[in-house]
Symmetry: C2
Subunit: 439 residues, 2 copies
C-alpha cells in the first residue's frame, strides 16, 4: 500500500497525512499546538511540582454542603435545572451578578449582563463581534496567554503597551494609540487585566484608572476589562472597576472561577446595551444557552452560603502561599528579580542575565518543577528572560520544594553561561493556544 | 444636551444610538434579532401552547436519584468536579461516548472524541476551522435553524439540496456539487441531519447512505453528520451512522441533550485525527475546557443508571405525542399536508395554498398557540408555506388543544384568502439566529 517511489523525497507528506488539509479556513492554519503542550502532559504528573497552572485552590470549599445543595437543585427544581435555558442567562443569576459587581463600584442592571461558559467564552464573543482580520488590539506587555490565543484565532494584530509596578503606563498607551492612528491602523479595543495582573502580578493604580479611561475615550477605543482576580486582594478593599468610571466605554468580564469554582464554567460580560444584544446573538450561535444547572448552583451558593467569607478565606490561603513563594525565591534564587503581588495568583520573575526561560523549561521539568515561560505572554517574541510562577494551587511546602528544585536548574544554567557564554536560548514567535493548564 | 438642529432630519440616529456601531466586525453587522424573538417572549407564557420549541420532555427523569448522584459527585469527588478540566474533555466520558456511538455502528477511540458545550458548540467549532467568508456549505432543504445561524455568523453561503421522504436525494446532491464545481465555487462540507430530521422529520434511507458518502468522497467534500435524534426512533433499531461508513470522511456530532438532559450542556464531536486536533485548540480558545461537573454527571449517569431503558421510555412518550399530533392534524386541519415522522421531535406541515406561515404567526400567538415558520429553515427565503410543529414537550392533551387553536387561525386565514385572494404573506430572507426556543 506504500505508493512512494524509493529515492523520491515525500515533500508533501506532512500535508498528505491530513486529507482535509486543503479544506481548512485560513485561520485554522494558524492553530497549532506548541511544544509546550507535550511538556505539560509530563508536568501534570504528581511527582512534578507545578508552578505553571492557574488552577485555584478549591480544597477549602465545603464540599459536603455543596453536594447537598446540588442534590436539592436537581430533586426540587430538576425540570428547570436539566432543561435548556435562556441564551442570555438565568435572570436570577444575572441579578446576583450585579450585586457581586457592586463591590467594585459597578452599577448595572441584570439586563446588561450576559452569562457565559467561563469568562473565556465572553472573551471569545467580544473578539468575535469586534475583530476583522488585521484589526489591532492594544494589550499590556505581558498579557494573559488565553486572551492572546483568542486574538490570534480571530486574526487580530496585538500591539503591546508597557506596564510598571502601577500597571499600564498611561503615557505609553497614549503614544501607542497616537502612532497607530498616524499609521492609519484600526484599533478596536484595549484589552486589560487591571487587578493582580496575569502574569505580571501588578495592579493599575487608583490614579491611573481615570487617565486610561480618558485616553481610550479620546481615541474612540473600547476598553475590554478582564477582571477575574479583583476580589482577591490581600491587603485592601477592591479598587473601582474601569467599568464604574465609564459604563458606555467598557465591556467588563467577570468570573466565578477564582472566587468560587471553575468546574461550573460560569463567567459573564457586562456591556453597553447594543453590544450586549450582539453578545447574546453570538453566544446563542456558539452554545445555544449556558448550563442551567451550573447557573442555579452559583445562584444558590450566593444565596445560601457565606460567599464573602469564603473569598476572605481564599485570600488568606493565597497570601500564605504568596509569602511561601517570595521567601523561597529570596532564599534559593536571589540572582533573579520579581515583583511582590498583593493579590491574585502570580509572581513574574526575571531571570539572571543570559538565561532563557523557554529553553530552560525541559530541564526544569526533568528536575520535576514546571512554570510558564514568559514568551507565552507576548506576541512579539519577547519575554524569554521571564517566567510566570503560580502560587495558587500547591501547598506552601510544595511551593518551597518547587522553588528549591528550580534553583538547582537555574544554577546549572548559570554555570553553562559562565563556561560557554550562552545557555542555548531561542526566541520564539509562537504564541501558545490557551489551555486549562495556563488559565 | 440635544445637539440636533431642528428641521434637519437625524438620518444617522439609528447608528448614533450605538456608540460602537462603527467598531463592529463585518460579521457582527449580520447579527440581528428577528421579529420572531419578540413573539417568542410572548409565546413562552403559560397560557400559550408552544408547538415551537425543541425542548425535550425531561419530566420522566428520576430527579430524586439524579439529585443523590450530584450530591455524591460533589461531596466525594468535588476537588476534581469543581476544578478546571482537560480541553478535549474527561477521558472517562470520552470512553463512554465511544460505547454510545457503537449503537450506530461507529468504531472510534476515545482519543477521537472532543467533548463540547452542547453539540451546538461542536457545530460552531467545525464551522470555525473550515469556513472562510464566501465558502459554500451544502445543506438539506430545509435545515436546522441553529446550524444556519452558525453558518451565517461565519459568513458561509448555504446551498440547499432537496429531500424527499427518504431524506437527502443523492442525484440532487450530485447535481448540486457538479454545478458548484463547474461554477468554480469552493464547497467545504455537506451539513446533514440523517435521522429524524429537524425540521423535516424524515430519515435518510439505508440504501442512500453509502451513495451520499460516495458522492461526497468523489467531490472531496467533508460530511458534517449532526445526529442528536438517532437513538429516538419509534419503530426500529438505529441505522448505521454515515461516520461508520467513512471514518476519514465524516465529522460526527452527538449530544446528550435529547437522550438525557440538555441542562448539562454536553455534546461531542468525533473527527479524523488532524481535524480533531484543531477542534481541541479552537475549543480551548473558546471556553478553555468543558464543565467537569457536567461531564462527571453524564459519566456517572451512564455508569449507574439504566440509560438505555430511559431512552426507551422517552421513545414511548414521544411516540404517544407524535400520535396525538398526527390525529389532531387529521381531525382539525385536514386541508394541510404533513409527513408522519417515525422518530425525533418534529412534524413538517405544508399549509393550504395561499397561506403564509410567517405572516400568520402573530395571529397564532394571539390565539395562544406557537410554531416555527418554515422560512427559518432556509437561507433563500423559501419555506413560507411550511411550519414546524414540535410534539416533544407538551402533553398529548396540550398538543390536541394547540392544534385545535391553530385550526381556528388557519380557518380564518383561508377565509381571508377566499375573500381577498391573499392572506398578506411576505417572503423574508432573514434567517433567525439560533435560540434555545428553536433547538
Amino acid at each position: 500500500m506504500n505508493e512512494s517511489t524509493p529515492g523520491v523525497p515525500r515533500a508533501t507528506e506532512g500535508t498528505r497525512l491530513d486529507p482535509w488539509f486543503d479544506s481548512y479556513a485560513a485561520r485554522a492554519h494558524q492553530m497549532r499546538a506548541s511544544e509546550i503542550r507535550a511538556l505539560f502532559a509530563v508536568a501534570s504528573r504528581p511527582e512534578v511540582v507545578s508552578l505553571a497552572g492557574g488552577m485555584p485552590y478549591i480544597g477549602g470549599l465545603p464540599l459536603g454542603d455543596l453536594g447537598e445543595m446540588m442534590s436539592r437543585i436537581v430533586s426540587e427544581r430538576g425540570e428547570v435545572a436539566l432543561q435548556y435555558g435562556s441564551g442570555q442567562g438565568d435572570p436570577a443569576l444575572r441579578e446576583h451578578i450585579t450585586h457581586v459587581m457592586a463591590l467594585e463600584g459597578i452599577s448595572a442592571h441584570p439586563d446588561d449582563v450576559v452569562v457565559t461558559t467561563g469568562s473565556q467564552q465572553a472573551l471569545d464573543l467580544v473578539t468575535n463581534i469586534f475583530i476583522d482580520p488585521g484589526d489591532v488590539i492594544v494589550a499590556e506587555a505581558p498579557s494573559y496567554v488565553g486572551a492572546l490565543g483568542v486574538f490570534r484565532a480571530r486574526e487580530a494584530e496585538v500591539v503591546h503597551v508597557p506596564m510598571d509596578t502601577d500597571g499600564l503606563i498611561p503615557s505609553a498607551l497614549e503614544e501607542t494609540l497616537t502612532s497607530l492612528r498616524d499609521a492609519g491602523r484600526r484599533v478596536k479595543f484595549l484589552y486589560t487585566v487591571p487587578n493582580y495582573h496575569n502574569p505580571a502580578g501588578v495592579t493599575l493604580s487608583l490614579e491611573r484608572r481615570p487617565q486610561v479611561v480618558e485616553i481610550c475615550a479620546r481615541f474612540g477605543v473600547l476598553i475590554l476589562e478582564d477582571n477575574p482576580y479583583g476580589l482577591l486582594g490581600f491587603d485592601r478593599e477592591p479598587l473601582p472597576a474601569l467599568r464604574s468610571l465609564s459604563p458606555e466605554g467598557v465591556v467588563y468580564l467577570g468570573s466565578f472561577s477564582k472566587t468560587f469554582a471553575p468546574g461550573y464554567r460560569v463567567g459573564w460580560a457586562v456591556a453597553p446595551h447594543a453590544v450586549r444584544e450582539k453578545l447574546v446573538l453570538a453566544s446563542e450561535a456558539a452554545i445555544l444557552s449556558p448550563s442551567n444547572i451550573s447557573q442555579m448552583a452559583i445562584s444558590t451558593y450566593l444565596d445560601h452560603f457565606d460567599w464573602q467569607g469564603q473569598i476572605k478565606a481564599f485570600r488568606e490561603q493565597y497570601r500564605e502561599r504568596r509569602d511561601a513563594m517570595i521567601s523561597s525565591l529570596q532564599e534559593f534564587i536571589p540572582e533573579a528579580t520579581w515583583n511582590v503581588p498583593d493579590g491574585g495568583f502570580y509572581v513574574w520573575v526575571k531571570l539572571p542575565e543570559g538565561l532563557d526561560a523557554k529553553a530552560m523549561l525541559p530541564r526544569a521539568v526533568t528536575a520535576r518543577v514546571a512554570y510558564v515561560a514568559g514568551t507565552a505572554f507576548f506576541t512579539d517574541g519577547s519575554g524569554a528572560d521571564y517566567m510566570r510562577l503560580s502560587y495558587c494551587y500547591p501547598t506552601p511546602e510544595r511551593i518551597r520544594e518547587g522553588v528549591r528544585r528550580l534553583a538547582g536548574v537555574v544554577e546549572a544554567e548559570l554555570e553553562t553561561v559562565r563556561i560557554f557564554g550562552t545557555a542555548g536560548g531561542t526566541r520564539s514567535e509562537i504564541v501558545d493556544f490557551p489551555s486549562p493548564d495556563l488559565a
